[in-house]
Amino acid sequence: MKKLAEVLRDWEAVIGLEVHTELTTLETKMFCNCRLSHDDDPNANVCPICLGMPGALPVPNEKAIESIVMAGIATNCEVMRHSMFYRKHYFYPDMAKNFQTTQGPVAFVMHGHLDLEVSGQGAKERPDSTVEKAQDGSYVASIRILRIHMEEDAAKMNHVGGAEGRIGGASESLIDYNRCGTPLIELVTEPDLRTPEEARLFMEKLRQTFLTLGISDCSLESGSMRCDGNISLRRRGETRFGTKTEMKNINSLKSLHDALEYEICRQAEVLEEGGIVYQETRHWEPSRRRTVVMRVKETADDYRMYPDPDLAPFDLSDEFVERCRARVPELPDAKRDRYVATWGLRRSDATQLAGDPAVARFFEDAADVTGAKVVPTLANVMVNLVPSFKALTVAQVASISSLLAADAITFAQAREVLEVVDGTEGDPERVVDERGMRQSTDTDALGAIVDEVLGRCTAQVQQYRDGNRKVLGFLVGQCMKASKGSGNPKMFNQLLAQRLEA
């Protein structure tokens, strides 16, 4: 198969995503009072309503509707004041009523967008001719969102005794209804994505947004956030869509990217060999890095959708919508801009810190401790050091950042100190003192060492004066050695340069 870059020169990939998110942070299910928890024993959290017992009726969970309206506001959607629940019929035991309660043509929120900043290596996936790029190759892609609608999740089925947990060949199928009736929001994008990287970034941004809203734990791994990718190819310049395939079993951002990359290349090969892309659902196999056919859609399913007569139509009031709006916290983009404006952080660092609400909260708590001057160093520590540790405290990270900002230790020493205190309440300053790491910034003491080094390294001094500036690094190293690591390398650098230039 050809490589992605090569394929995308000739072909345009048209990608749309369908993202299902379980509202895991709610206490109860969508239409009954059962506890939301999938960890309990099978069928522990069930009642006549979510089991579809005769005569049971649904009552909507108002908190779930608040959550979806917040999700819509955070993704620039229009809140539809009037919408309804519909029944979508299909016979399968994972749906206790043999219909799923979902929404019809009008969803709670519709017509939004998310803007993606695509930069670095990922930006190269998109041929320059198709988009306006900045000098560094980055560009902004605005991805329209068709709708986000509310529905209920199905039960989990466990097919026992067959191959690969599939129903075909299984000797029995066990059904766990704990998940049945879990509030689920489904976001559908317009087919505006053009590269696997854009799709990956969209999912990442959506995940960060929902995490910031606190409406879900957004775990692709455990399936509380699930993403299906629809993809078709067309020749550059063509305006009609090609036949699409649907990608399932995507349980990480990397899988999303890789599955789409594979599928783009596969479809290109099929088309270039004169073949036909069939409308089908394909399963991503991460271990073998390929997609395989799950089922072919020969006819459109007829779900016999009609308005659910058990649930009155919704007319969302101004008060309700404003209450939801007030509950939307500062979103990652706004947070990033504030970090740049307030502390002069690098945009890429600010983006990274603002993305995950837990990281952002940690960072801001530490910033409160260190004070503004140290924050750029703190940001550097957060981005480059903290992720490699298990359990650092705000106080530890603030302390190490302050030590670095004061040039009291080196970056390498900071890592060493954090290794000692990680997972404990240990104080970094104490470790620094105990280990005699604190670097001297005493100009006289360091000056004496510099003079000593310059005195014995006459050859290198001559090389420097002849124009070989690289030799400065060697001289700094000699000074560090002579100070047994206690001298500040930046100071040595300055003092050496002063004397050599004199």
């Binding site: 005769p54 005569g55 009726l57 649904p58 029944r87 035991p93 129903i167 959708m305």
Partner: protein
Amino acid sequence: MANLDTLSARQVAAGIAAGDFSATEVARAALDAISARDGQTQAFLQVSEELALSAAAATDAARAAGQALAPLAGVPVAFKDNMNLLGTRTTCASRMLEPYESAYTATCVQRMLDAGVTPLGKLNMDEFAFGSTTDSSAFHPTNNPWDVARVPGGSSGGSAAAVAAGEVTIALGSDTGGSIRQPASLCGVVGMKPTYGAVSRYGVVAFGSSLDQVGPMGRRVEDVALAMNALTAGGHDRFDSTSQNCDQDYLAHLDDSIEGRRVGVIPALLQAEGLTPEVRAAMRQAADGLAAAGAVIVEVDLPNMANSIAAYYVLAPCEAFSNLARFDGVRYGYQEPGCATLAEQSSLSRAHGFGAEAKRRQMLGAYLLSSGIYERYYLAAQKVRTLITADYQRAFGQVDVILMPASPTVAWEHGAISDPAALYLADVFTISNNIAGNCGISVPVCLGADSGLPIGAQLQGPAFADAQLLTFARALERSCGMEGSVAPAFAGKGGELR
């Protein structure tokens, strides 16, 4: 001592409160009446003797402890078998649910229990409430107490027959297109379909969710009003998001005068095809009776009523298809043994669990909801629904209630009408009321001059004017003299209070 046949619900409760007889004695008398009469009527599917005696014992214990008794304390009541009651099976008269043990108690049943009633069991019906004869019950037909060769009407035929034969004082029925009012008319009892939303549907096995409404049946308007008090006590049911707060005292205005109030009649309706002369005469008698009580009779029109059957037989099957989809033999109910695959199990369980009419309606619904068809029929039917509702609003601007038959004929013999479409057409007077979500009631007027069988007159009122409807029903009852009648062949058979 008295016979339960002659006591109103209020008299039963008062007699227990006064110590004239105990709730246990009442329960035993009711069980005695059932065992003496139900062999002929076959109104019951299950008699819940244990539940009845333990509820009665609780009532007696409460009285002994000096507690104030609930308004329907000790009153013998039974429930249509589409209502869940813990400790009973809820079968909907279908093989599909024959083994199904209620997992919980329906709100309407619970509210009756809270009002102190003694629950005597579950009553026969057309399978899943699809029908107007009760002949489509999977277990056995029910016989009309006025002539056991005839149908009691349906689908709440067991409820109507049990009340008419004096087996219980009050029964609950459900009405999707006339299933309370039509059997009430055919069995000579009072049957009320309250406004949609007035009574919670939670726990009542759904047929047509936007049309279904639970209501009481009794031998007196007063008994029905007392039951309405119980059914609406507590107001909105948080388990039914379509339920409304209709909690009020339905007895308070029962005996108000209707002097100068306006009763609508629709002359064209009395010319309807199939309407028998004796029913027409009964309607005239009812109008005269109301006029004699001071009401003004006014001609009104519901121009779109003729389309109500067509709209109903689109909307109701669509909802029925959807509501009955859950019966697949996986979790509960009838499960075909020995199936190799899921698809086989589901389809054979459904093929053998459902009767012919249940299959017919589900297939009709599945067809009508399919893409391309839905737009032509379902959406058109919803528009007709809007027109019918608007017709009623116009009419109720002119009158307080509208008088019409509940059924074009008196009860017919079992098997006399076998064409389903002919049966559907007999619903012409009741269906539009469900479509509009209004309230309606059938009150016995007389015995037909030709047949000697009971004929009811239906009064329909605007949504949420249920109390006013009962005032008119009481006035009609007073003018007709049928109050409290037990079918003659059954009166006095068992049911004696010692």
